[in-house]
Symmetry: C2
Subunit: 257 residues, 2 copies
């Protein structure tokens, strides 16, 4: 019999994860979200019903998946009055203890990926990190995870927090720098397109080289002339400071004796 899933949340993770679960033949029976528009959109996409009220959660599901912003997660858990099924969240930086003393079977399933609604993702390549309350739940969640992805690992709450911080640096901050670069080119009326091969190659390089080896640029060479000409052009105070601080960090790493 197909396992039944209730999805709490309608953001980027909720959307991509529930679509992947449906493809893996799980039955998504309900979407909950505070936002009626988002709940309705995702429910339509999944061909299931939705609710904006926690009191109306379907109580017959095998899995309750909380794919919610970290800051509202504890509050929503607090209001849930269904104790059957496995309750699991998807947050990198929230410990599994958020479920303890309330539910019998609970877990974390953390997908280490960046999701935007506008961009499809091959879920089979997304690393999934599992932590669970007990052996029965570990096995059940691992079975589900392995239906979704080829890359499933066990990780405790401390490791998951480290993974999340690493992901912020490697993904969120990098993407912010793509955005800064786009702004600099825009000032010179150069289309952002010309940077796309460089950005892709930077990410491809570290698939085979360690980033410590892959590093290039003026800071690695301690090329002070170039760094100064760049700083002279960066009028924005915050950008100027960011360039200076990161260049110093890289120079120190490669050029200190």
């Amino acid at each position: 019999m197909r396992k039944k899933v209730v999805i709490l949340g309608s953001g980027n993770v909720a959307t991509h994860l529930s679509v992947a679960l449906k493809k893996a033949d799980y039955s998504i029976i309900q979407v909950y979200s505070r936002s009626e528009l988002n709940a309705a959109t995702l429910a339509k996409n999944l061909d299931c019903c939705f609710t904006t009220s926690i009191n109306e959660l379907n109580n017959s599901a095998d899995y309750y998946i909380y794919a919610l912003t970290d800051s509202v997660l504890a509050d929503v858990i607090n209001q849930v009055e269904i104790y059957s099924g496995i309750h699991l969240h998807t947050a990198g930086s929230v410990t599994i203890d958020v479920f303890r003393q309330k539910f019998k079977h609970f877990a974390v399933l953390y997908p280490l990926q960046t999701f935007s609604k506008q961009k499809e993702v091959d879920f089979s390549r997304v690393p999934l990190f599992i932590e669970a309350s007990d052996d029965y739940t570990t096995n059940s969640v691992r079975y589900l995870a392995e239906k979704l992805s080829e890359k499933c690992y066990l990780a405790n709450s401390e490791q998951r927090l480290k993974l999340h911080i690493a992901a912020v640096f490697a993904c969120n901050f990098s993407n912010y720098f793509y955005n800064i670069a786009a702004g600099l080119l825009h000032e010179s009326k150069i289309p952002f397109d010309v940077l796309k091969p460089l950005i892709l190659e930077t990410a491809l390089k570290i698939q085979t080289l360690h980033p410590a080896e892959a590093q290039t640029g003026p800071a690695r060479r301690n090329d002070i002339t170039t760094m100064e000409s760049h700083l002279n052009l960066l009028n924005d105070k915050v950008l100027h400071e960011t360039y200076q601080s990161l260049s110093e960090q890289i120079s120190k790493l490669y050029n200190d004796k």
Copy 2:
């Protein structure tokens, strides 16, 4: 008749560019480098001769390509006593004026890519930016550039400097963050491999989405709980400050009314 090229430099750009020129049927007749080992290695790779003395440069070449660190470029140009041929450098942040008053025909050919000797690059996809002293030189360098790459553009020295700064943010600083992420995972005994799909997807996303749309993560959501738990774990003062500053920048961009 095959055009003859002398390469000055034996670093990452010199290596990749000269290999691409050889493939495009240019005749590399000599490599100059201060480092005998590097000069010999590259010359062997190209099946040509090399020198470590500027006085011994072959004076019959059509192109003299200065692929040198910005800080030594002017000094090397100063010592060259061959005035025939087209003299061109590959530096993003050095103006074309470095050649003026010395040579008749001169140019810049700036490849917007990250090169490491250990990693092959498909040169036909590398955007090349051209600036030249006169129409004859523009045409000649453009002809050469179009033999190497499908993506050739004209750009003046000011635009090239902006491109270089943008590349430092989008590539050098992003790679540095991959390295920070690798260090964080190492502390928790998690292999860096698990981050590779995330890094690749981050770079793939902006091939179709603008980075301003592609942004995800706690700072974009202004998820203070998560950011605080990350800052609590970052004991290294410099990393702590970097995380805080960038998170503030991103939060401001997305959450200011």
